[in-house]
């Protein structure tokens, strides 16, 4: 009897001990889960238990196990059971609420609007004061020709550099390497400056031989061209570091200088522009240097490469982006070049500025500005969703993942289309209404006097909408570093723009150069949408290979 009770006591004690061990083992399992989550093997659990400070020699007394390896078998099983009982949200697709989506749209749209702020500020200046940093409401057509030529050339020559600057600087800043970001920004600025000067020298020499413009004209053209080019290069340094507002402020300061010099000091408009542009240039460059200055801690970075790529490598990796930047600005101004070089009444030089045409283009540009802000939202939404959505889809549903992005794309596409059309209509009516309100002003009456302005506006506003679609596609490609897809579409679009523009302007009337823009934009939108489909169909690959 006594033996039986002793045995029972031992059993109870053993039971207590087992229970005590079980509780302790469960506690270890909790610690393991806390540290690594769902373990992949018992061996991993053993390593983690060791790292938690448990010792092999304590295992027999504390857990009733020979060592950590034996303990880990039990812990592993408990971990698996615990993990399986906790559930996970597996809903496909975008889980963000509608409210959040609306807020994101507003945030990105405003940021996109801020992107166009410098141009908007210049438009505001010209409307309210008659001056901008490089334009004047009282320009004669020959003066406007000079400025337009310089301006267009500056955009085309620097387009590639600003594109590459944005890409390279943003990349280095995103990995926290301000030293290299600064170096590469300055290097690209210098390359840009050298190219701008080389083109200027070439143009000057060419003009010396073929006399396209009188010598005095070419000097003024080159002054505008050089100063504007430098301005774009410095501004793109600032843009790539996401300081959009300061560019608008500096341009405004430069414009104030122009107004002061011309209106109050009495200098000629070209001199005032040259001086105003110089001031803006100096401020822009100094501000860019200030932004890229290295503060105490930033100088100490030693864990990342401080090397700027070799010129050959820099060229190799950036050439598609450079080409795109160049082609894009060429595309943007090609119709003007075609129209203004076609035969027309009153044309004096081979290239002759046409006010009604430019007014039509600028009018259409207003709606383009509103559309571009939508792109900022579309592309940010795309890049922010990428990882999140990839996480939602299991690997065996990879096709559904790509299909999900077709829906995403169609929504963005449709939104842009509707928004673009509404913008065109709204801009048309607002400008017309303003025209009515201010019809007592001669200049306003002149604005609406030419049918060419209206004709150009109609075609150009549709062209800009198509261009925005193409740009949206390209921004998607660029997000995953697939500039080649964009290049393929813009190259053909450029060719179409050129051919249609030349034929239309020469066979119909000079202002039909705008048809080239329309046809080119159409081709650009269509082709890039075609590539966008291909891109989305293989989005899993496109994302993977974006390194």
């Amino acid at each position: 009897m006594r033996e039986k009770s002793a045995l029972k006591n031992i059993k109870i004690e053993k039971g207590f001990e087992q229970d005590k061990f079980a509780k302790k083992i469960e506690k270890v399992a909790d610690e393991v889960i806390e540290k690594i989550g769902n373990p992949i093997s018992a061996l991993q659990v053993a390593a983690v238990i060791e790292s938690l400070g448990y010792r092999h020699i304590d295992c027999p007394i504390e857990f009733g196990k020979k060592d950590i390896f034996e303990l880990s078998e039990d812990v592993y099983r408990i971990c698996k059971l615990k993990i399986r009982s906790s559930k996970k949200d597996s809903k496909d697709g975008d889980a963000r609420s509608f409210g959040k989506k609306v807020w994101l749209f507003i945030r990105h749209y405003l940021s996109g609007i801020a992107f166009g702020l410098p141009i908007a500020s210049q438009i505001a200046f010209i409307v309210f004061t008659g001056y901008s940093l490089w334009a004047w409401i009282n320009f004669t057509e020959s003066q406007a020709t000079i400025v337009a030529f310089g301006t267009i050339l500056s955009f085309i020559v620097t387009g590639g550099f600003t594109q590459v600057m944005g890409r390279e600087v943003t990349y280095y800043l995103s990995i926290g390497n301000k030293i290299t970001a600064q170096e590469i920004a300055l290097k690209l600025f210098n390359y840009g400056v050298m190219t701008v000067i080389a083109v200027a020298v070439f143009l000057f020499t060419f003009n010396l031989i073929f006399e396209l413009f009188p010598r005095k004209f070419i000097s003024i053209i080159l002054a505008y061209y050089i100063l504007l080019s430098f301005l774009w290069l410095s501004a793109s340094m600032i843009y790539s570091s996401k300081r959009k507002l300061s560019v608008a402020v500096i341009l405004s300061l430069g414009t104030i200088v122009v107004i002061w010099l011309n209106k109050f000091i009495g200098l000629s408009i070209h001199t005032a522009h040259v001086l105003g542009l110089s001031v803006a240039n100096v401020l822009m460059y100094l501000w860019a240097r200030y932004i890229f200055r290295l503060r105490g801690e930033e100088k100490k970075i030693r864990y990342i490469s401080l090397k700027v790529k070799r010129p050959s490598v820099l060229t190799y990796v950036n050439s598609p982006f450079f080409k795109f930047g160049f082609y894009y600005f060429l595309f943007l101004f090609l119709d003007r070049v075609i129209s203004w070089t076609a035969y027309s009444k009153g044309k004096f030089y081979f290239f002759w500025f046409r006010t009604p045409y430019e007014l039509g283009m600028d009018w259409a540009l207003l709606s383009f500005g509103l559309m571009l802000a939508v792109l900022e939202w579309a592309v940010n939404d795309f890049s922010e969703s990428l990882i999140q959505i990839q996480r939602k889809f299991p690997a065996f549903r990879i096709k559904s993942y790509n299909l999900w992005y077709f829906d995403f794309y169609f929504i963005k596409f449709a939104f842009l289309l509707v928004f673009g059309l509404l913008s065109i209509v709204a801009v048309y009516f607002i400008v017309m209404r303003l025209g009515e309100i201010y019809s007592h002003i001669k200049m306003v009456r002149e604005f609406f006097s030419s049918p060419v302005t209206f004709k150009v506006y109609y075609f150009a506003s549709i062209s800009y909408l198509l261009l925005a679609i193409g740009l949206m596609n390209n921004l998607l490609f660029f997000t995953l570093w697939k500039a080649d897809l964009g290049l393929r579409s813009i190259r053909i679009a450029l060719l179409v723009n050129l051919i249609v523009g030349i034929f239309a302007s020469r066979l119909m009337s000079w202002e039909y150069g705008v048809l080239g823009f329309l046809a080119g934009s159409f081709v650009f939108a269509m082709l890039s949408t075609y590539y966008a489909f291909k891109f989305i169909r293989t989005l899993d690959y496109q994302y993977y290979s974006a390194f």
């Binding site: 061996l43 390593a47 090397k307 790529k309 070799r310 190799y316 690997a395 065996f396 290979s545 390194f547």
Partner: protein, 508 residues
Amino acid sequence: MAGTVLLETEGTYPFVGGGVSTWADILVNNLSEFDFYIYAVTGMPYVEYKYKLPPNVKFVRQIPLWGSEEPFEDIFFEIPFSSIYIRKTKVNERVVLRKFIPIFAEFLSSLMDPFSDPEECAGYIWLMHRYFSEYDYKQTFKSFVVWQKFKQFIVLKYLEDNPFLSEDEIPSVYDLTLAMRWIYHYLMPLYVDVPEVHLSHATAAGFCGLPSIVAKMRDGTPLVVTDHGVFARERYIGVGSEKSLSFFAKKFLINLSILVSKMLYKLADKVLPVCRFNTTWEKIFGVEDDKIKVIYNGIDPEVFKPKPKPEKTRNIPTVVAAARVMPLKDIETMIKASAIVREEIPNVKFIVYGALDVDPLYTRKCQLLIKDLKLENTFILAGHHPKPSEIYNEGDISILSSISEGFPYTVIESMACARPVVATDVGGVREALEGFGIIVKPRDPKALAEGVIKLLNDPELRETLGRRAREEVLAKYRTDLTINEYRNVYNELISKNERKISTQKYQD
């Protein structure tokens, strides 16, 4: 006997400081009869050496795994771009499909099969290296067919082989991307040229050892692996603790690391852990007993030698520690222990020398704990010390509260300075300290405090343990002893290999 050695480092010498780098620096400086080619795998591209390289370091090739838009730019900076460009232009879908995919598919199969033969896989590694010596690395990995093959492999084979996966264990599309990009990044050492040398020495059984595998498979070059910590075990813990990674991602990365470790262990002629503690894990990952030879780290006893305490701590019972402030060092337990010690010895001071910026959140946590326990005048986080050899002489004893270690230098350095150590029983600490200090259970502030109180209250014991500790260091943990052991291993393997080569020649 002398020769050329390919020394492979991972995240350490000569670009980053720390224990392993110090070890490597001592090695190359003292084995001056050997010429070293250093292949340094790094996280990001570095620009500055942390160490002055001796003349027998003939070449340093850096292999950054991340942060290079075009890997050749940071690896082959001396090669003209035109030759790289030719390699790039040679890559097309057809070439990748015919020449790369067959090897890559076999490699993937080995990777996902826990019972795969490491030697066979080493063969694929060598074949991939041969392919990359002709065709561009990045261009190949970016090709559509590589991605297709990988996708197909995971979706079909992995899911078929593991039919009972729970929901969170099924890989997502993002996991696929991550995994394939890891392969691209971690196999980067296969892109480099592998020199013909007399011996290759991987300082970790990790990705840095890939060129060693190539050298072994191609030329039969003798291969030595040193384990400071066991790479695969560390990956279990390190990768496992990554909260942002999914189950599949962790499993994939750990499997990849273990496969590389297993290949190196299989092909190694000698595996040289720095403490016996590592051998248990090495055997688990397939190292045969007869390959293992423990070579303990050594220090210079003329640099680390006993000196009287400086003025500032002369009359204060002082406990010093050389430890970076991070969770693995469990500074929190040390802080709690100091509170217990203060109750017994009110004027005690704990001074911790070591970087505070490794884990700023943890540092903050420690600072708050010090404040909560009102230990501002007792426990000092002193930051980096410019002269490590002076640290131990500032105290009466030193302390180590880590929850995980290999064979910590701080223990033998303190022993050399005749300052007895109170340390937690982790890694190889017991091997060095048993009989010469106090070893306590990890994560136990009370035990740690008792050890400290015992030593601080007993000057005689302190003096005896300190003296014996220095004698132990002089007898077992001197740099020259360590170096001689490496020298012997190098010479033995090189002459053995040369004998093998001459026999082969004779037979041919």
